[in-house]
Amino acid sequence: MTIGPSAFLGLAAVLFALGLYGAVARRSAVMVLMSLELMAVAVNLNMVALSRFVTPTEMTGQFFAIFTMVVSAAEIGLGLALVLAIYRQTRSIELSSIDSLKG
C-alpha cells in the first residue's frame, strides 16, 4: 500500500472540517479555541506533507509549519488570556455572553 499526497490532504481536510464544525457549533470559548487549534494542526499537516512531496530538500513547508506553530502558540496564549479576562468580568466563558462588541 502506497500512501500518496492525496491521503494526507484528505486527512488534513477531514481534521480541518471537524475543527470548523467545532468552532461554529460549540458555545464555550475554550472549546472554540481548541477547535481553532485543530484547524491549525490540519493546516500544518498539509504543509508538512506537501513539503515532503514537493520540496524535500528545501523543506519550505516545514519552515512554514514552524512559523504557523509560533503564531498559533501566540494565539492560544492570548486567546486563553482573553478568556480569563472575560471570565473575570462576566463570570462565564460562553461566547453568547460576549455581546458588547457593537458600534
Binding site: 502506497t2 481536510a13 472540517a17 470548523l20 460549540r26 481548541m34 508538512v48 492570548l78
Partner: protein
Amino acid sequence: MSESVNGVAFVILAFASIGGAVGMLTTRNIIHAAFWLLEVMVAVGGLYLLLSAEFLAVVQILIYAGAVSVLMLFVIMLTLRRREDSVRPVEVSIGGGILVAVFGTVMYVAIARYGDRVGEMPIVVPDTAALGELLFTQWALPFEVASLVLLVALVGAVWWSREGDDR
C-alpha cells in the same frame, strides 16, 4: 522509513487523529475534550515522523501536547466553579453542518482535481541537520521576527490575564 510512508502506520495514526477529533467534538465533558485534543496532537506528531519531519514531530509534541494542552486544562480549571460545570449539553448547529458540508465538497473536488498534480514521494529524504542550518541562515530573519511575535504575545498574555482593576 524514508522513501515511502508506511501504510499501516498511516492508517492507525489517521484513525487515531480523526477519532480524537470526533471524540473532542462529541464529548460533553470539556476536560475530556482537552484530553482528546491532546491525543490528536500526539497522533499528528506521529504523522510528522512518517513524513520524515523529525524536528517538527518533536516540536509538535513539546508545544501542542506539552504546553498548549496544559494551558487549556489550566484555563478550564480556573474558569470552572464547580466540577459539574465541566459537563455541558450537546450542542448541535445546523448552520455549522451546512458550512462543513460545503467545505467538505469543496475539498473533495479540489483534491480529486489537483491531488495528483503532486507526484510520488521523492527519494530525497528531508534532513534534520539541514533544517537546522537553513533555519539559521536562509530563514534567520523570519525566525527572529517569530521570536518577537512570541515575546509580544507573552507580554500581552501576562497583561491581559493578571488580576487588577486598572484595566
